[in-house]
């Protein structure tokens, strides 16, 4: 079953050089994502499944699919834990 990560519509975000800055207005926590994190974040649009995000990471950063899947899933879960992203089972 595909899962679709979606960025919260409450956050603020901007690319600063090659880093993605994100602020959660809920508690003003600031996050900084590197290039790989930024790619995953930007792909979390609510209609791109995790499987496709993994493919994008593999293409962009030359990593093995299994390793990429583990990293992407763990990263997305961490962002969801901060409530700046959520998962849906259907594309939005």
């Amino acid at each position: 079953m595909n899962v679709y990560p979606a960025r919260s519509n409450q956050i603020a975000a901007r690319m600063l050089g090659d880093e993605m800055m994100i602020m959660s207005p809920r508690d003003a926590t600031l996050f900084s994502l590197n290039e790989a994190g930024a790619l995953i974040w930007q792909s979390a649009d609510g209609h791109t499944p995790v499987s496709e995000i993994v493919q994008r990471v593999c293409q962009e950063f030359d990593v093995e699919p299994d390793e990429a899947r583990a990293d992407v899933e763990s990263f997305l879960s961490e962002l969801a834990g901060h409530r700046i992203l959520n998962f849906t089972e259907e594309a939005q």
Binding site: N9, G17, M23, L30
Partner: protein
């Protein structure tokens, strides 16, 4: 400031990115605060489409922190269209308002649109003092009701209290009110001259004795010994540091599209109705002139023992006649804090002394 925010600021400065921008959407206001520096007539505000275009440009330029202010932002009927567009671009939006026009519906929308914080001006906990400053009867009651509405919806509110002779004694009451409402509060002893250069409203400000009392109030400053410590010896690094964020990572845009280095720095650098924002930000000679200022080249301040710890505002200095000169209000703050006169104060005292000798 968090380490991440500090590194974000340094990165933005090195990449020449306007990380923070204040956009005043109108100068019109429903209050007539005695100390206000603005002319409240509408001299041709930007339209909604023009503002949307500016926001598009700011997002492309890398702006992250966007402050929407005025005047009173809600005097514009299209304010929520502006806010919606800003949030589509994922700006971290902060709003400055008197909140009098924030009812249930407006509070719902502010929550839903994910505003980072709302700053509300409160001058006293007593209606007779607050309303005498705003010249709007019932304004304190309305502002407080709005704060409660916002707070009930989980929106972050910050009370901003400008200190003047008229309300100085009430700041502890305002802080108590903020605590009761469950919101943060700030106080600001700076009165800014009017944008047309009229300095008469500066007379409304607090005196040096009151400023000293504020600087030595441990409920405000924490550890008094540390806060009021004499300035450390000046090292050469301090003389090459960036003086403030104006023109480095921050600028201000008026309702008429004029771009300035800061809201408190009315040096014209260009207008977004005539030029692309980034062309003004990057290439305006005036913006680059401000950008070039370092403490080392300031004729008086570079010789001052406070140069490393002073909050010198180049905009206030500009309004006093020379953006490379001292900012008298900041000299007074350094003196009130430490008891040590600034180089500028000593110079002025010497000149006065000489004048007296000549006169005699």
């Amino acid at each position: 400031m968090s380490a991440l925010l500090q590194s974000m600021n340094s990165r933005a400065a090195s990449l020449n990115i306007p990380l923070g921008v204040q956009l005043d959407v109108t100068y019109r206001c429903n209050e007539r605060c005695v100390h206000c520096y603005l002319d409240h007539d509408d001299h041709g505000e930007m339209t909604l489409e023009e503002i949307r275009g500016v926001l598009d440009q700011l997002a492309a330029a890398g702006t992250f922190f966007l402050t929407l202010s005025g005047g009173e932002v809600l005097m514009r009927r299209d304010f929520f269209d502006i806010l919606e567009h800003a949030r589509k671009h994922l700006f971290c939006v902060r709003i400055k308002t008197n909140a009098c026009m924030i009812g249930e519906k407006q509070a719902d929308r502010l929550r839903d649109l994910g505003v980072e914080s709302i700053q509300v001006s409160i001058y006293s906990h007593r209606p007779e003092v607050h309303d005498a400053i705003t010249k709007l009867p019932g304004s304190l009651k309305r502002s407080i009701e709005a704060i409660r509405r916002l707070k009930a919806r989980g929106v972050k509110v910050i009370i901003a209290n400008v200190l003047m002779a008229q309300n100085f004694g009430d700041y502890p009451g305002v802080r108590l009110l903020a605590r009761e409402l469950g919101v943060e509060s700030t106080i600001d002893p700076t009165i800014t001259p009017k944008m047309d250069g009229d300095r008469s409203i500066l007379g409304l400000g607090i005196g040096i004795g009151e400023l000293k009392a504020v600087m030595h109030d441990e409920t405000l400053v924490g550890d008094i010994a540390e806060f009021c410590a004499p300035p450390p010896p000046v090292d050469s690094d301090v003389l090459d540091e960036l003086p403030c964020s104006a023109s480095h990572t921050y600028c201000y845009i008026s309702p008429y599209g004029d771009v300035f280095p800061c809201v408190q720095f009315p040096l014209p650098t260009g207008n977004v109705r005539q030029q692309a924002f980034l062309d003004i930000w990057r290439y305006s000679p005036a913006m680059n002139d401000v950008r070039s200022i370092r403490p080392r080249e300031l004729p008086v301040c570079s010789t001052c023992s406070h140069v490393g710890g002073c909050t010198r505002c180049p905009g206030l200095a500009y309004m006093a006649g020379d953006m490379r000169g001292p900012s008298v209000q900041d000299c007074e703050k350094s003196y009130a804090r430490t008891g040590i006169p600034s180089a500028n104060m000593m110079l002025r005292a010497a000149v006065r002394h000489d004048l007296v000798q000549i006169h005699l």
